[in-house]
Symmetry: C2
Subunit: 163 residues, 2 copies
């Protein structure tokens, strides 16, 4: 799993509290990360339709739908793709006792086991929304946390962000 998942999820949580589009440079400044690195994650989120870029003077990124309708799985898949970690190379069809192709129309029992685990992982991530994460952040650090972030995001940039 790429490090981008952590940044992308934090950005989505932050965007739940924004009242205006948030420039990529502002998100980068908040997280103290290079703007070009964060731009990659934001583009991945944008390609997946989770955020959109609003053009103009007050432009920036917004979530495209209610945070309760964006799951952690949506974000992880946007950044890391949907390919399962386990890839079967059909080794059952190799060697002196190779299974004939007609016996291999169904995935191998080992592949099925790995796929079941992958499905359990996806289901767990699909069950948690970005809204849930934002609520957890408030519960963890106090009810003022998200509004402090909202205020900071709404403060005009001083041009010294280095982004």
């Amino acid at each position: 799993m790429s490090g981008g998942v952590e940044w992308a999820l934090h950005c989505c949580v932050v965007l739940t509290t924004a009242t205006e589009p948030v420039p990529a440079a502002r998100l980068a400044e908040l997280h103290d990360v290079s703007a070009s690195y964060l731009a990659k994650q934001l583009q991945a989120l944008s390609r997946a339709g989770l955020v959109q870029s609003v053009q103009g003077k007050a432009g920036g990124y917004v979530l495209t739908r209610a945070p309760a309708r964006i799951s952690v799985l949506d974000v992880v898949t946007a950044v890391d793709g949907a390919t399962p970690a386990f890839v079967c190379t059909e080794i059952r069809q190799r060697g002196p006792l190779a299974a004939p192709p007609e016996a291999c129309t169904r995935p191998c029992a080992i592949t099925r086991a790995m796929s079941a685990a992958d499905a359990a992982w996806r289901a767990a991530l699909a069950a948690i929304s970005v809204a849930d994460l934002a609520a957890d952040v408030n519960a963890d650090y106090g009810p003022a946390t998200m509004s402090t972030i909202a205020r900071w995001l709404a403060t005009p940039q001083d041009g010294a962000s280095g982004a």
Copy 2:
């Protein structure tokens, strides 16, 4: 996830049916894979205590315990390690609104979500044993499958395995 997981799981299933220790070269021949590549997976299984190497003329690998007591998770962890796919780099402690260290004694909500999914994945893999896989193989390819493999493994090697 490394390709070694597929080989290691197939080896474990094959070893459930062996009546004698199986030389690594024989397992490699059965799977039509290089002996040195397979040796790496077998060594990982051995380090994890799932197989052991019996020395001597009729030497080779055996499972160390009943296949019902070896889970798919045991094998996956032996080959790929126990490190979760998601690694938190504590980005909440960066930037102008960094959470103070004393507010970060508990993992971040995002880390908790990723850990919950990882736990679901592990639980799914822990629930399936190598004995289950062997039973599935028999169900998939017919009841003679595992005994055909057993017979092939017990056939003296002809020295032409190339291993």
